[in-house]
Symmetry: C2
Subunit: 432 residues, 2 copies
């Protein structure tokens, strides 16, 4: 029955202030107070602390007629860098962000098949970081905190990857290895939590307190945000909506259950639906996930009857699955995100929109809004940058610096040496 | 993005203190502090306030060797009464509780078919209250607050029954009518929220912060408790697990959807399962819900093959539905409650226990506990008494009594007159 401590509340208030700043770009204290509902005195204190820590900086002053000029504030891009790492099934990507959460640089490395041990992932990250250190975005800059997304079931509190079946991982101490590779504090999480955090800070979270961020991709899941907080569950695995039964005794799912939503709505699910409709459809030859979805949607738009039927069945399954979430959780809003939304044409959306009302009870169904959001594909990375920012803020927000755990003993010689290599080529900057 | 106010936190802390007192019976301040995690100073202040308001009273003193004697506290049964009203589909029941949440008296009135208008419900309640006022438990006692459970979708904040399809109710202003009938403040809610609140205070809530209270009855639903708080959702209709699809294109559900969990796991669902197995089974003649379940379980225990098959299929559906909840919400614990559990023999439980692990992902499935709880049938009433207590505490916890909304103007003459009737028979006391 433990309650929120005053430190929890203080951290939560800081995040609220920062979310208001990031939402507004350049804001006054009064705007932050209005946006957050915090008292002007609390906002003044928190903004003062954040300025002192260099997280925010004064941006200018607004003069009002007859009154005193009012300061405006913004996130301080000079304060240091945040590193976001996306360890995906076939590649590792590192993104460098400033403290205003603008992306400055990027390095991506394909993982060789069979290289999915934590040691080789650590080595790949170390190498990519060495490359980044040579370039402008990171040269002579501190990495304040790192957020890393890892596949499978990640226990954030323990810093362990509990279960990543495709890689044969069980209870792998990922934080230890990554902190050694990065040379600083690392927070780990899974991609669903990262996506939902991004949506909380920069998407629906700006307008809603209780909403669901559904991710459609190779896998599918649902980030559940209640009262402005991401629901993590007992072991950080809340949100496995993709592995809830929608079709009794239906398709075998890769999780071992039958009839899971993912086996109908995920990429492989759509492929199996198309196969059921027409087992010799030429698109079934397309192995690559994104190419398959892109071509399926194109075929559907071009009038391919089987593709059209597959898209509509997928829409029916998706609508029922979304209806389940809405009836169970009675949210204000549902955002449908993930890379599939980029390729999902209007027909999938229209089908879902047409069907969703009949899948909802009158109460939960009335007034809930539903939005398909085309995300730029950097959502996981941005979410991990936010989680890194949260980690950094919690660190500097500790009551006294002396009570901080000692930083891990890291040998940075290798990186330092790398920076100093004379005549090393300067790779071109990644996309901003 | 509004945060919890200090008043919310104060209310929450009061509830925590009271829950610790109700759990312990007679407790010291130190025990409350240990149990709640609140600081000893906060506990001392809150206990002091609750004693001043007459909610708690000093129960005695414990002397420790050499030290000062320590006071013990308990809920004060003398402080006044709480009234719990259960407006069910066929009856209305009123229960009188003291502030220690001991049930003192009861009055139940069957509702005549066609009498399900709010006006006639109000009249029935007024009449039952008149009867209760004549008896010891309520005579010369104040009703501090009333909690009323109503069918359908209840908007607690607006005091309105939004939608009760079986009664043809839409946006019925139930609080206004009930406050007039009772002559005091009334909080309304639906039975699922009442059950879950009872479980939060007196059941799994004593051991878990994140759990689900599944209700199996004529209807089925899931009270979701996260971080020690009942999830209500945007319109107080969270928890409609019974109306989530488990069987794609399955049975028509009374909600208008297809394949809802309720149409397999609720009473009518079990009846339809039995009918599918053996359409001429004699038990299908049993119309009354409780009698049907009781006799089905008895037949199953006696070796009736069709009954056994029906129980096992129900167990399979229930296990999958529980697996959905566990995968989606990753709770610490699931309690299965409701009147069906009283009749559900070990075979249903065993079937669920056997199947549940394969319905859960490795993460959420490991360590979650599952418990079938035989409730005494008074769970809704007890939950509404707790909600009445919460309403009372919030009322006395307001910053200043002068800022309270004016109590509704009620003519209590009728009740007073009823008490004064000379020679009126004194009905026998209800069950304690
Ligand atoms: Zn699955
Ligand atoms: Zn239904």
């Amino acid at each position: 029955m433990a309650m929120k401590t005053s430190r929890d509340i203080r951290n939560e208030s800081r995040f609220m202030v920062l979310r208001a700043v990031y939402a507004g770009g350049t804001v006054t204290r009064a705007q932050v107070a209005t946006e957050t509902g915090l008292s002007p005195a609390t906002v003044a204190t928190l903004v003062g602390e954040l300025v002192e820590e260099g997280v925010l900086r004064e941006a200018g002053r607004i003069s009002s007629q007859g009154g005193r000029p009012t300061s405006t504030f913004q996130a301080n891009p000079q304060r240091g860098r945040l590193l976001a790492i996306d360890v995906a099934e076939t590649y590792v990507r590192l993104d460098v962000y400033d403290l205003a959460l603008a992306r400055l640089d990027q390095e991506q490395v394909e993982l060789a098949p069979g290289a999915q041990t934590i040691a080789s992932v650590g080595e790949v990250i170390g190498g990519a970081l060495t490359a980044l250190r040579r370039r402008e975005a990171l040269a002579d800059r501190d990495i304040l905190f790192t957020g890393a997304s890892l596949p499978g079931q990640v226990d954030t509190a323990r810093g362990v990857d509990v279960f990543a079946p495709n890689w044969g991982w069980r209870d792998v101490p990922v934080v230890d290895v990554l902190e050694e590779a990065v040379g600083g504090r690392v927070r780990v999480d899974n991609p669903l939590m990262a996506l939902a955090t991004g949506e909380l800070w920069f998407g629906a979270g700006r307008r809603f307190r209780d909403f669901i961020a559904v991710n459609l991709g190779t896998g599918v899941g649902a980030g559940i945000i209640l009262d402005g907080q991401l629901l993590r569950g007992r072991g950080n695995s809340a949100g496995e909506w993709g592995h809830t039964t929608l079709v009794w005794q239906g398709r075998a799912c890769r999780c071992g259950r039958q009839g899971c939503i993912e086996s109908y709505v995920g990429v492989e699910g759509m492929r199996r639906t198309l196969e059921e409709i027409r087992s010799d459809h030429p698109l079934l030859e397309v192995v690559h996930h994104r190419a398959f979805i892109e071509q399926l949607m194109r075929a559907e738009a071009a009038g391919d009857a089987a593709a059209r039927e597959a898209v509509q069945r997928t829409g029916d399954h998706l609508a029922a699955g979304l209806g389940n979430l809405i009836n169970l959780l009675n949210p204000e809003h549902v955002s449908v995100l993930g890379w599939i939304t980029r390729y999902a044409g209007t027909d999938l959306r229209e089908r879902v929109r047409t069907r969703i009302q009949q899948e909802c009870l009158p109460g939960p169904g009335s007034g809930v809004s539903l939005e398909f959001t085309e995300t730029a594909g950097e959502s996981v990375s941005l979410g991990m940058a936010v989680l890194a920012l949260e980690g950094f803020l919690e660190q500097v927000g500790l009551p006294s610096p002396s009570s901080l755990p000692a930083p891990p003993a890291i040998d940075r010689t290798e990186h330092r040496a790398a920076w100093a290599v004379p005549g090393a080529p300067t790779p071109s900057r990644g996309p901003r």
